[in-house]
Each structure stands twice: as structure tokens, then as C-alpha cells.
Amino acid sequence: MKIRRIEDLAEMPTVSQVPLGGILVNLGNAVNYRTGSWRTQRPILNLAACTNCLLCWVNCPDGSIVLNDGKVSAIDEAHCKGCGICAQVCPTRPTKAMTMAQGGEY
């Protein structure tokens, strides 16, 4: 068996470099943590049926509904975890603007 060195941890902070009490000082860094690979289902946006009520945008726990000029325009694939809340709250009928599809990959 070959013993592999874990090289990618070498750049991480050392004991004296971590901030006191693990406080986060560079706020907004959640955007750097790409959680899109967690998905097992993916939301499908049908813009033709969208009334732009913004319920999906309000309810998305990860801020993954992308707005353009105040209007729903896309899903942030890098961060959407595929929880399905957007499809659940989407009120458009009979054709829903947001539905879930099996599989995380777009």
C-alpha cells in the first residue's frame, strides 16, 4: 500500500492563525462554499409559466434563485442543494413554473 500525503491541507491556517473562538470576520463567505454537489434532485425553471411572484426567491434557504432586474431568471447551480422548497411553494397552475427532476446534474 502506498501512503499518500494530504497536500491540500498545507495551505490551511495553523493553530496560531485561526481566529479567536472561530469567529468569522470576512462575512458573506458562504458564497465560496459550493454546495451544489449535495443535490440528488434539481429544480427545473419554466420561465414561460412564471408569474414572478418571488415566493421561491423568498423561501429559498440558500439564496439560489437568481434575479435579473427584479425578475426570476435562473437557478444558482453552484449552491442549490435541491431541497425542493421552491417547487413546493410555486403557486402557478395548471403548469408549474418550478418542478423537481430526479438527479442532481443539470
Binding site: 473562538g21 472561530g22 468569522l24
Partner: protein
């Protein structure tokens, strides 16, 4: 013990009263606490000070100890000076939050009245509660009498908030034997206490809108280990800060403190290591046996965390046999909490003494003078014959 100091006032206080009156003078920003025997008098007395407008404290009446320490964590993260207090089952209920307090480096001070843990249910003193929290990352100071409860509670604020420490401090006192025993206590004038503790530096302050921070973030395997060790280093480094602040307190009051205190240990051949109220009992026995010309001494632990391993090894140089008195058991372990730490501290010492341990006083049973004297007799026997006997025994137990 009580010296005549110009600035101080001598009052009669129980250990609980001394903690509450120290809190009165500290005037913390927030106190969130839940009453539990034998700590109740602290909460009652302090709540009265709040109701009568003698402090500016926001007192949060909570529904449990878990909530008490949670509320304290929130207030401390907002930069406030925060105190809570508890005992026994209350500390057990706080257990989860103890680690969160130290991990988030929140400098909360907590008078902790030592009481055993159920079952069977019992409200009296032993150290099972705080020993169960020894690895939670809190500084733990143990008080011998009501005066030390007052002294340690005030010093604890300075120790906790020191920028190089920034950790919570537990001030432990024996349930009933110290918490409810009325003693002479010297109190400084309010303004001297205010001057000694100063303003809280508010190093972690979530309400500082110009320097926004987030607290309680997720630290996964690539960073958690480093965070934990940085907390451990701060706790280890607090030893020097505790000594410095103890010396400063000595200049102000005539009562200086280190991590340990020795009594007639210099030329002693045998010694007992004790803490809290048991150290006071042992001191009386040492004096009586010294009158008979026997070379006995006492080493008292004031700080249990950080553990003063080097101080103990240095103080015991020349001592041939040592007995450690533990007021808590560690079921299934090859020792008891303090015994195991003392043995570790002495293992690498040249000419280390023989070390035996005793578990005593569980569930509040008194430690008598003749029991302590019998321990010294055994130590002398060990020195004379070289026969050590069992490493751990029970003192004052009806055994078969």
C-alpha cells in the same frame, strides 16, 4: 487568616453570600441563572440586589440551566460582562453549553457550588459535578473558605477577560461546608473592586456594527483540530495570568494567590495534596502533628484547570510519600481525578515520591481530623518500611 487592612470591611458571610456580594460589586451587565440547592442563596441574594436597584444588571430568569448558560453565551457574544452560577444537576444540564462557551472563547464567570450527582439523590457536597466538567475547557479554581469565594470570583473576571486567555472560569466551592458556613470575610470598597476589574474589553462583540462578525460557524475536519488546540493553548497559558492577577490581588488585599498553596511543606517528609474545604481540615491536622515534631506538610490545589503540574513537582522536592485526597470517584479508572493528574505530573520527576490516593466525603460525608491523621500515619509507615499498599483507598467508608 483575616488581616487588618485599612481599606477593607469585615463582614459575616456564607460562601454563597460571598459569591453574591462579589457579584454585587462586580455589577455584571447580564446574569442568567437558575436556582438549585446549595447554590440557591447566590441567585436569591443577587436577584434581591437587582430588584432593589443596587446593580445595573439585566437579570434573566430562565427555565433551566441549559437555557441559563445559553442566554449567557448570547450576552457574552454581544460583548457583555456575564456571570451565572449553578451546582450539581444544573452543571450536568449545562454540559453541552460548557463546551460551546469555551470553544467560542466567551469569558463567562460561574460560581459553582460543588454537590454530588444523582442517583441516589443527595443534595450535599462532593466534586463529582465539576470533575465531570474538567475537560470542558473551563478554568477551574477551588475555594477553601468564604473569603476565597469572594477573592476568586472577583479575580475570575480579570482572568477570564484577559486578552491572552478569553476563556470561561468556574469558581468552585464545597456545597454546605463552604456555601452555607458563615465566616469572616474581608470586602474591599466598591470603587476598589471596580478599579481592579476595569471595563470589559469586549473583544468578541457581535453588536459592533462597524466590525461585523459571525459567531458559532461550522469548522469541518480541515480546521476544527487547529481551533481546538488554540483553545487548549490559551487554557495552558492562563497559568501565568492567574499567577499575575493573584499577585496583584495580594498587593491590594494582603492575600496573594498562586496556582497552589503550601503549608509547612518546606522540610516535610510526607505530604497530603488536598483542595477546597478538605485543605482547611488538613491544615489543622498538620499543625497538630507538627507540634508532636512530625515532619508533615500540605499542598493545596487552588487551580485544577490549568493543572499546575510543574508547581506540584517543584513543591514536592524532598517529600518521600504523598497522599492525594479526591472528593470524586472516577469509576473504573486506575485512580481518581486529582490522583491521576498528580501521578502524571510526578512521573518524570527525579526521586519522585510514593503516591497513594484516597476518595473521601462522597455525598457530603464529613472528613474528620482523625481520618486525616490516619493518612499521615500511613504515609510515615510507607517511608519507614517501603510498603506502599493499595494505590487507591476509600476514607471513612464502612467497607467489608
Amino acid at each position: 487568616m483575616v488581616k487588618e487592612m485599612v481599606k477593607s470591611t469585615v463582614v459575616g458571610l456564607t460562601g454563597d453570600g460571598a459569591a453574591a456580594d462579589a457579584m454585587l460589586q462586580i455589577d455584571p451587565d447580564v446574569v442568567a441563572a437558575y436556582p438549585i440547592t446549595p447554590q440557591t442563596e447566590i441567585v436569591e441574594r443577587f436577584a434581591e440586589y437587582v430588584a432593589n436597584g443596587r446593580v445595573n444588571t439585566e437579570f434573566v430568569a430562565v427555565e433551566s440551566e441549559h437555557s441559563a448558560l445559553s442566554a449567557c453565551c448570547g450576552a457574552s457574544a454581544a460583548g457583555a460582562r456575564v456571570i451565572t452560577c449553578t451546582s450539581s444537576q444544573g452543571l450536568a444540564l449545562m454540559h453541552e453549553m460548557l463546551y460551546i462557551t469555551s470553544g467560542n472563547r466567551l469569558p463567562i464567570v460561574m460560581p459553582m457550588v460543588n454537590r454530588t450527582l444523582s442517583a441516589p439523590i443527595n443534595i450535599h457536597g462532593d466534586h463529582s459535578d465539576s470533575m465531570g466538567s474538567r475537560d470542558a475547557g473551563w478554568i477551574q479554581l477551588f475555594c477553601m473558605d468564604a473569603q476565597e469565594v469572594y477573592d476568586n470570583t472577583i479575580q475570575a473576571v480579570r482572568i477570564a477577560e484577559h486578552p491572552d486567555v478569553h476563556l470561561p472560569v468556574m469558581v468552585c466551592l464545597d456545597g454546605f461546608q463552604v456555601s452555607h458556613d458563615m465566616e469572616w470575610v474581608e470586602m474591599l470598597p466598591d470603587e476598589e473592586v471596580k478599579k481592579f476589574i476595569g471595563q470589559t474589553p469586549g473583544i468578541i462583540n457581535m453588536l459592533d456594527k462597524d466590525n461585523p462578525i459571525n459567531i458559532g460557524g461550522l469548522a469541518l475536519p480541515p480546521v476544527f483540530f487547529e481551533h481546538k488546540v488554540s483553545m487548549i493553548r490559551a487554557l495552558e497559558g492562563s497559568a501565568n495570568i492567574i499567577r499575575q492577577i493573584g499577585a496583584e490581588w495580594g498587593e491590594l488585599t494582603g492575600r496573594a494567590y498562586g496556582l497552589i498553596e503550601t503549608h509547612r511543606l518546606e522540610d516535610a517528609e510526607v505530604a497530603i495534596i488536598a483542595t477546597s474545604g478538605a485543605a482547611g481540615t488538613t491544615r489543622c491536622v498538620v499543625d497538630a502533628l507538627r507540634d508532636e515534631g512530625r515532619k508533615v506538610g500540605l499542598l493545596r490545589l487552588r487551580a485544577y484547570r490549568p493543572f499546575p503540574a510543574e508547581d506540584i513537582a517543584a513543591a514536592l522536592k524532598g517529600v518521600k510519600a504523598v497522599a492525594v485526597l479526591d472528593r470524586a470517584a472516577s469509576p473504573g479508572a486506575p485512580g481518581a481525578p486529582i490522583l491521576s493528574d498528580v501521578r502524571t505530573a510526578l512521573y518524570d520527576a527525579a526521586d519522585r515520591p510514593k503516591v497513594v490516593g484516597y476518595v473521601f466525603g462522597l455525598g457530603g460525608r464529613d472528613l474528620s481530623l482523625d481520618q486525616v491523621a490516619s493518612v499521615y500515619e500511613r504515609l510515615e509507615h510507607i517511608v519507614q518500611t517501603g510498603e506502599v499498599g493499595p494505590a487507591l483507598s476509600y476514607l471513612g467508608l464502612r467497607d467489608d
